[in-house]
């Protein structure tokens, strides 16, 4: 393949690719995102290859390994085109049935379909599954249709059309105006208007100018940038090149976490292919505009996602933040103007160019336009990646898309915005999700992590978890963040281990304020958010821990005890066998008893106690009832 030299050559190539492809030819797509990979989707894909070979169908059927489909709960996902038959939780053993029934005879394998938990109805097509039906898949939609390692798949779907339009029909200024008009806000956390950032870098003095894709997605529980980078790297590249053109930059960096090896691999391939096709490098599509991209792998530091720290890291130094008297947009990489945007932000750009700012503005709320990808995780039935228009309520996301809370438990709160965000209690879940509404509740959009918590979650423990995470990730450069977090963690450790004192809550509040006001970078200034928001909505839990030495959710280890209800115990002996410290005594027919001195509270017994007995309980804040020695089992059911 030679280099594409004009816009018409690009559209000719697209026609050629499309004419070679028969839309009626069966195509088996297998999700190969990280979630499905963990479910061994590779084995499924190999099994398909073997089975097709065995049945002599390898020429009649295509196999495609796509990026993440988002419905990670039910992986590995297999979708068979052209009919879009969606099979979930496919195992290598199911492959023979799929090939011989669906591919050969056009029949559907019922047991692999999605079953609606409420109506028990089987759903055949992927887009009709409630998880997908309520979403608006704009940025993420192409993930399931393309092989990220093949640029032709992306071009066939209209890829790089926006780039050609920009290079031949628009001036850099016009591109900038279009993005500004669309009111695209940064998807990485802060929600700063992308167009304004671009303009600052464009107008700043100094050459060369640099642009950066920030894929240092460090928030625990958030993985949408990763899935996008792994599943559709060309969409990010296209937006990136358009941005560089508007800003007037000829060199860019993609900063990817070292923990994301597949993202690095697929992006490398994408860059290589784009260069081969003349879509990247010198003289892009024959327009005279040149742009080169390099990948920089991060080495594992949460704070490196902060713009000034990320810039230092690319320079080969320690990724520590610097005071921002002057923004990186003006003085960044090697002291030159540098525009840094998150993966999802760049991926939005081709859509804005293709469809126009007005169309983009029609999605979302008054100050937050477009869609947002969330990673819906935690205690929710349908874990996965969800893309919805801004302004959808938390309730719709959790119940309509997420399918509610598992095991018949009740919702307690939702945590958004990662370690810098806050918790939103159940009473406020009708809040529409956008940048401003979440900020009003003392939480934030962040990069889009959405962690659902049920009544078994202890809010003090969650605050402790985030403060621990942040104190470990604090670079230690400025005192308020380093010491403030350390002392907050100490107080929270005391509270969760039953050593809390009166006045600890006030001290926590005071420390939070100091850390927030005096820290150097956003890590420190937002670090107290998890504490402040849990205090705001769940102060009573803190008080129960301190005053009554009780953990209302029965989570904090030092405040709970495991107890076998003698009325329910059937002396089956399973817990005795599984107890790692031999703390449970009991014989056949004799009620089992936990020796509290030996018990390490690992919870193994509660996991193994048969559900129909449910004899083991967690007790908090009360004394453990005494069980008479050698008590006989009540009634064998």
């Amino acid at each position: 393949m030679g280099k594409i030299k004009s816009a018409s050559e690009l559209s000719k190539l697209r026609q050629k690719i499309l004419s070679k492809r028969d839309p009626k030819k069966p195509c088996i797509t297998i999700c190969s995102g990280t979630g499905c990979h963990a479910y061994a989707s590779e084995k499924v894909s190999n099994a398909f290859q073997e089975e097709l070979k065995k049945q002599k169908l390898e020429k009649a059927v295509d196999i495609k390994r796509t990026g993440c489909h988002g419905f990670c709960e039910k992986g590995p996902i297999v979708v068979i085109y052209p009919k879009e038959i969606c099979y979930l939780q496919v195992k290598p053993e199911d492959v023979t049935d799929i090939v011989s029934q669906t591919i050969k005879e056009g029949k559907i394998v019922g047991r692999l379909l999605y079953t609606d938990p409420h109506t028990n109805e089987k759903i055949v097509h992927e887009s009709e599954i409630p998880f997908y039906k309520h979403q608006k898949r704009l940025i993420f939609g192409n993930n399931r249709k393309i092989d990220p390692k093949n640029i032709e798949d992306y071009i066939a779907l209209g890829g790089y059309k926006a780039l050609a339009k920009v290079l031949f029909e628009l001036t850099p200024k016009q591109v900038l105006e279009e993005v500004k008009k669309a009111s695209l806000r940064g998807r990485g956390g802060g929600g700063f208007p992308a167009g304004r950032k671009w303009e600052t870098t464009r107008n700043a003095n100094g050459e060369p100018k640099y642009v950066i894709v920030n894929c240092d997605e460090g928030d625990p529980g958030a993985y949408m940038d990763r899935s996008l980078m792994e599943g559709n790297p060309h969409s990010i590249l296209e937006g990136f090149i358009i941005g560089a053109y508007a800003i007037g930059s000829h060199e860019g960096f993609i900063y990817v976490r070292q923990e994301y090896p597949l993202a690095v691999e697929n992006t490398e391939i994408a860059i290589h292919q784009a260069e081969e096709y003349g879509l990247l490098g010198e003289d892009i599509i024959g327009s005279g505009f040149g742009f080169n991209v390099k990948i920089h792998r991060g080495a594992g530091a949460f704070v490196s996602g902060e713009s000034s720290a990320l810039v230092s890291a690319i320079e080969g130094k320690v990724g520590e933040p610097k005071p921002k008297y002057i923004h990186t947009a003006v003085k960044g990489l090697w002291g030159k103007p540098t525009c840094l945007n998150n993966v999802e932000t760049w991926a939005n750009v081709p859509f804005i160019i293709d469809n126009g700012a007005e169309w983009f503005k029609s999605l979302g709320t008054s100050n937050s336009k477009g869609t947002k990808i969330f990673s819906l995780v935690g205690k929710v039935n349908n874990t996965g990646l969800v893309e919805v228009p801004m302004g959808m309520s938390l309730r719709e996301i959790i119940y309509d898309i997420g399918g509610g809370i598992p095991n018949g438990k009740k919702l307690k709160a939702v945590q958004t915005g990662g370690p810098s965000g806050g918790v939103i209690p159940k009473s406020l879940i009708d809040t529409p999700v956008d940048f401003d509404e979440l900020a009003k509740l003392d939480s934030m959009m962040g990069s889009g992590g959405m962690i659902v918590m049920d009544t078994d979650t202890c809010m003090v423990d969650i605050a402790r978890y985030f403060v621990k995470f942040l104190s470990e990730e604090s670079c230690g450069k400025c005192v308020p963040c380093r010491e403030g977090l350390r002392h907050m963690l100490r107080l929270l450790n005391n509270i969760t281990s039953g050593k809390g004192n009166a006045g600890d809550i006030e001290r926590l509040e005071e420390l939070s304020e100091f850390t927030r006001d005096a820290s150097l970078c956003a890590l420190g200034t937002t670090a107290p958010n998890p504490v402040l928001s849990t205090l705001k909505y769940f102060r009573n839990e803190y008080e129960a821990h301190i005053n009554e030495k009780r953990c209302p959710a029965s989570v904090c280890r030092e405040l709970i005890a495991y107890y076998i209800d003698p009325e329910k115990c059937q002396a089956c002996g399973i817990c005795t066998k599984n107890c790692p410290t031999g703390a449970i005594s009991g014989k056949k027919g004799i009620v089992h008893v936990i020796d509290q001195k030996k018990c390490i509270k690992c919870g193994a017994c509660i996991d193994v106690c048969p559900e129909r007995f449910g004899a083991i309980e967690k007790i908090s804040g009360e004394s453990i009832p005494l069980v008479p020695k050698s008590m006989k089992v009540k009634s064998i059911r």
Partner: protein
């Protein structure tokens, strides 16, 4: 006893002048080859030993020879070992050179270079870091600053199997901490440590991006999802 230093040799063994004289006399008289003399001598020694006689004629000289032979073979082994380790080190440094050349000796690629060394060796040996420091002309203090700042780097050798327990928020609310504690208990080490037999290194990570599987533990590249603490012992005992 102090040995006279001499350059005299007897079948590769260092001998004193006096011993050499005695030996050449024997050789002249008996018309035997040097090796035969040595064997004969050792046989005599063996005979005397088996008879329980402790001061046989010639015993002193032969014992010396025996000791000398032992000494030489030990020395030879040591030299070979040293040669081998030098060869290994040269190979290692050549590999590092390759990495540095790939990045055209660019100082700003330091983190990338260290990442590649880390992924080849699974840790950063000190000689390697010194080499990088020399080649890139970056002070060792800066390299150590980076190597200790970022989590991906390890300055200690790692175990054969890497066990990673996810403590991301989603795994945390599903009991990831209990998984880590159980893994620590089973292996007898804390997170971040390596077992004394170098079989396992245990680490906690902050999100592996497969939240649907939580709580998750990864052993090498094998994912164990929706894990209960009671299963950990069995999983780990499958890895030798």
């Amino acid at each position: 006893m102090k040995r006279e230093k001499t350059k005299s040799h007897f079948i590769g063994l260092r001998v004193t002048k006096k011993q050499k004289e005695v030996l050449s006399k024997i050789q002249e008289k008996s018309d035997l080859s040097k090796t035969d003399i040595l064997l004969k001598g050792l046989e005599i020694l063996d005979e005397y030993y088996s008879l329980g006689l402790d001061r046989p004629p010639l015993s002193y000289e032969l014992k010396e020879l025996e000791e000398e032979a032992m000494h030489h073979s030990e020395e030879l082994k040591r030299i070979r070992r040293r040669e081998e380790s030098i060869r290994e080190m040269v190979q290692e440094l050549r590999d590092i050179d390759e990495v540095i050349d790939k990045h055209q000796g660019d100082k700003s690629a330091l983190i990338q270079i260290l990442l590649e060394i880390q992924s080849r060796n699974h840790w950063l040996p000190k000689p390697a870091l010194m080499w990088v420091s020399e080649r890139l002309n970056v002070p060792m203090s800066q390299i150590l600053h980076i190597a200790t700042f970022y989590k991906a780097f390890s300055l200690k050798p790692r175990g054969k199997h890497l066990v990673r327990v996810c403590l991301g928020t989603a795994c945390h609310v599903r009991g990831g901490q209990r998984i880590l504690e159980e893994a620590e208990r089973v292996l007898g080490i804390k997170a971040g440590e390596t077992t004394p037999d170098h079989r396992f290194t245990l680490e906690s990570v902050n999100c592996l991006g497969c939240c649907a599987l939580g709580p998750v533990m990864i052993v090498d590249d094998e994912y164990h999802g929706k894990l209960a603490p009671s299963k950990i012992g069995k999983i780990l005992s499958n890895h030798t």
